[in-house]
Amino acid sequence: MEDATTALVATDTAWLMVACAMVLLMTPALAFFYGGLVRRKNALNTMMMSFASLGAVGVVWAVVGYSLAFAPGNNFIGGLDYAFLRGVGLEAEGTIPHLLFFAFQGTFAIITAALISGAIAERMRFEAYLAFITLWVVAVYAPVCHWVWGGGWLHQMGALDFAGGTVVHVNAGIAAVVAALVVGPRRDHGRQAMLPHHVPFVLLGTGLLWFGWFGFNAGSALAADATAALAFVNTLVAPAAALVAWMILDRVFTGRVTAVGAATGIVIGLVAVTPAAGFVSPMSAIVLGALATGPSYWAIMRRSRSRLDDSLEVAAAHGLGGLTGALLTGVFATAAWGGVDGAIAGDWRQLGVQTLAVIAALVYSGGATFVLLRAIGAVLPLRVEDGQERVGLDVPFHGEQAYVDGDGALLTIPRPIEGRRLELRGPQPVSTATVQVSDI
């Protein structure tokens, strides 16, 4: 971040623009991944939680988030030099325009915040959620990002996190657990089967996420070089392996290869390879992708029977997937492929550093998220009313339904027929005869 004397490289600029657009697309993709998993009556609310992050986090990142993460500061947090994008211009930051680096990082912040929404789907008040993610990016994401990528203490210790296993996935995963606990389980949790209302949307989200993830991982090389190509290829093979592994697990344990499972497997492969992408060989990435499905599969099978209502499995998929990936990075990394030597290459030290980084993220993010949610909860109710949860959040909070026929929808703007009806509807004497009819 310090060296701004280098010159712009057009190829890197082009590649980072493309990568950044791809990462931006991941947030709408997540909206579909999550939106398909909830019940129809909450589809829009769930999708809006992702979309709203594009606005709220996008703006707060420009205002102050980026500065806290990347402006010169101390070991724990950046300064305010870049607040309101002061001093962030088109000069080179590495080999790309500083503003483009800001934007690329912004798309990471946006999706990390949106990831958490899966844990509190179908029951959190939309206003409270907006307040939460806005503050969370400032108070939790920006510091952790600074530690690892902004020159902070984990960076200095040599923690490897190529594209965000710790910063993005472990961070969001533990925040998800805390949020699910603080907001509490859905009223139907453990009592009713709450089924995904639209599995094709889950697959659509998965396809677009995978596409965007190439930008996420290979873009994190911040240049169109061999490292980027390595990260790119690993982002192809690791999820392929994870998908195969998940299909086998599913077939063995439930007897059938589910589509939601396949989607989950792909995502876990993507998550797990994120911290490792530029540091391990493709064959290692294949093994890593396949291995990472184990813990997450186990966790998902257990979770649904537990009291923890992490509704869309953020902790199991992203938290645990990111954690496994971060640790396995310490195992599989080799200097030959651009990392430092990890356990397999004979050096166990890196695994220790990785573990420390994960623990630090778990502790800080978990604690700060808890405090933040309690603080917001003291001002605004976090949770919808029981009746709202029963009819679904779409109508009470968004005034819309996802899929509408229009049956029985009457316009309320004044018009001839409406005028006539309004007059009918004032308080008026009701004859018993009338009552008989209407009151059956």
Binding site: L410, R420, T432, V435, V437
Partner: protein, 123 residues
């Protein structure tokens, strides 16, 4: 006590609802359905396959009314649901032997006659 079941055109539903509300019929249930009758069926084509759609979209309205109101209700439906073209639908009136309101457990005429209709709540 009778159950009135009307099959109407989907695009007349809102008109029929308004017609019913006007004569203060406020309890009813509707269902989307498909009907076959005298209407010309539509032809659709999918990649070389020609298909006759024998069914047209309709809406079914079910209304439980006390005997003296059957006429009035049927008339309201017929008037507000008519376009004059084939396919306007039918109204069937069937006998009901018993009615219960789930909320209170009130039954039959008893459950129906004395309660005053909560006008304000209904709108």
């Amino acid at each position: 006590m009778k159950l009135i079941t009307a099959i109407i055109r989907p695009d007349k539903l809102n008109d029929v609802l308004e017609g019913l509300f006007e004569i203060d019929v406020h309890g009813l249930t509707i269902t989307r359905c498909l009907g076959h009758g005298g209407e010309l069926e539509s032809v659709e084509t999918y990649r070389g396959m020609t298909v006759k759609m024998e069914l047209t979209e309709k809406v079914k309205i079910e209304i439980g009314v006390s005997d003296p109101f059957v006429e009035k209700t049927v008339d309201a439906i017929v008037q507000s649901g008519r376009t004059g073209a084939v396919g306007d639908g039918k109204v069937f009136v069937t006998p009901v032997s018993d009615v219960v309101r789930i909320r209170t457990g009130e039954r039959n005429q008893d459950a129906v006659t004395p309660t005053s209709y909560p006008v304000s709540a209904a709108f």
